[in-house]
Amino acid sequence: MPVFTGEVRRQLDELLTRYPTKMAALLPALWIVQRERGWVSDGGMTEVAELLELTPAYVKGVVTFYTMYHQHPVGKYFIQVCTTSPCGICGAEDVVKALLRHTNAGDLGLTSPDGRFTVIEVECLGACGFATPVMINEEFIESVTPEKVPDLLATLA
């Protein structure tokens, strides 16, 4: 089932007008694949490769370089917690522990049994003054503390 049909194809075509080369649309195209399918599969990479006149191996080399492209399906809510030093010294590790406990995900990188949550640690999210920032899919949440975790998770269906 191709990703780039109809309106989605039109979006790619518009993107292509912004750059002098097709290759430059690679990162944006991969974002579209992830938006549409939730992750970037081998099939997605092959489709993008064909459209942009690249090889699948080349596309894969790019995908594996960047941490935000998922190369396998993740929980419905992909939770990323910053634990780099500025947040680390403000209790980020405790936020991680609280999230793992309350989501029942078991361990970092694993998906909870109900398929809703995957929790990972990430590097500096660029909101250090609002420790601890947490991203849930595309949503960016500032100033998360262990105490706020249960309420935060309660808002997620």
Binding site: Y19, T67, P86, C124
Partner: protein
């Protein structure tokens, strides 16, 4: 008091005056606040004149390198028949730094205006704003602002009726600190792995798509507008210590401090007063132990060094560190320096692009040794090995991520050796007991 707090009276809010002001984000709101007057003025000037004003002002790159902006713009040769490009580096990923995020989510039109001015000044018709993928809000507001600006004819094929074409495109990153390095940014923009390039050739000669390119930080580009409106002298006068450091700087303050946030002060501001007065000092019952004043890549300062510092490029160097990105990480006496440095090393090991041997292997090796020391399994030989590895990682690679990993290790061992040795000798780290009341 630095956003998200209200401005402190000793701040000088030029770029940050609309932080928290939701209306400033729309075109109508921005125009009400004097927006796009600078661009209008710029489009009526010759590009070379704009470059001269910026040169005169003493504006230096606000991303961390501190390179004189006017001089960088002057490297773009006009009339060479090649398309020129402006890249705005909005990849802000240096631990401790979060000022560009604020600038983009509160004053996105300021950045559109800054990009337009910069593009026009360097003879570019296309500007790409490379925003890190995690910056959901900045991405949203920048996309909106660009849309509004196109709809109003401010940018596009006839920018503000000037007959000049200026295109601004937002480009979303995908999770790589190294893409904040200017040549890696260009590679990433081109659809490649974010590997830094060897210089020469320099971007102004052969940059993105092989064409002459200038890469500027968000704060730098936004600063161009008030400089054009108020004049170079106005900017130069804002300098409390060294005439080579002019204007205001946004400092992102985080860590163990009462009021973390984004502060804007004049260059040369006394750091001691900044930390204790503006930022509110340490948490109740705690004392400061160390400060990393410019993002994780700059040397760690002892409290004594920090308290003696005047906040500008030369001032930080004089006190054993660097201004860098202005990301101030404050560490109190509850923290283990070894843990902090081990986590910073892990950061760099995660972000290494893997091209250069010393970085690819050295960042990971450093991390492993640091974590072993942190966990009580270190030996005295480890300290010598760490310093040796740090020496091999310095000055020998394509970019300075490698050097950046070495810096906290070297400054940490030099200034906090006691904590390393204690752990090696088997004494577990205990935070200093907080004073009561």
């Amino acid at each position: 008091m630095g956003y998200p707090n209200l401005p402190h009276q000793r701040e000088t809010t030029v770029l940050s005056q609309y932080f928290g002001d939701a209306e400033a984000r729309t075109l109508a709101g921005w125009k009400k606040r004097g927006g796009y007057k600078a661009l209008e003025k710029a489009l009526g000037m010759a590009p070379a004149d704009i470059v001269n004003v910026v040169k005169e002002s003493g504006l230096r790159g606000r991303g961390g390198a501190g390179f004189p902006t006017g001089m960088k713009w002057s490297f773009m040769k006009p009339g060479d028949g090649k398309p020129h490009y402006l890249c705005c580096n909005a990849d802000e990923s240096e631990p401790g730094t979060f000022k560009d995020r604020e600038l983009m989510r509160w004053t996105p039109h300021a950045l559109v205006e800054g990009c337009a001015i910069g593009a026009y000044a360097i003879g570019a018709e296309t500007a790409y704003v490379y925003i890190r993928g995690e910056f959901t809000e900045p991405l949203h507001w920048m996309e909106e602002a660009v849309k509004e600006a196109y709809a109003a004819g401010i940018i596009g094929k006839n920018a503000m009726g000037s007959g000049k074409r200026i295109d601004v495109h937002v480009h979303k990153g995908a999770g790589a600190y190294i893409c904040g390095e200017e040549t890696a940014l260009m590679n990433s923009l081109e659809g490649r792995r974010g590997n830094p390039r060897i210089k020469p050739p320099f971007p102004a000669v052969s940059g993105v798509f092989g064409m002459p390119t200038t890469i500027n930080n968000v704060e730098t580009l936004i600063a161009a507008a008030p400089i054009l409106l108020n004049g170079a002298d106005w900017y130069k006068k804002m300098s409390l210590s060294n005439p080579k450091s002019t204007g205001t700087k946004l400092f992102s303050v985080c860590g163990n401090v009462q009021r973390p946030g984004t502060y804007e002060v004049v260059m040369g501001f006394p750091f001691k007063e900044f930390l204790y007065d503006l930022c509110g000092g340490p948490a109740h019952g705690r004392k400061f132990k160390a400060v990393i004043p410019g993002g994780a890549s700059v040397p760690i300062q002892t409290v004594e060094e920090a308290e003696a510092t005047l906040m500008d490029y030369e001032g930080f160097v004089a006190q054993g560190s660097m201004l860098g990105s202005g990301g101030v990480i404050v560490i109190d006496d509850a923290q283990s320096m070894v843990s902090v440095i081990a986590r910073i090393a892990r950061f760099f090991a995660h972000e290494s692009c893997a091209q250069c041997t010393q970085c690819r292997e050295g960042t990971a090796w450093t991390t492993k040794i640091m974590e072993r020391i942190r966990d009580g399994q270190g030996t005295t030989e480890d300290l010598d090995t760490l310093l040796d590895i740090a020496d091999q990682m310095t000055g020998k690679t394509i970019c300075v991520l490698s050097d950046s990993c070495a810096v906290p290790v070297v400054s940490g061992i030099k200034k906090f050796r006691g904590e390393f040795e204690a752990l090696i000798q088997g004494r577990r780290f205990h935070p200093v007991v907080a004073a009561v009341a």
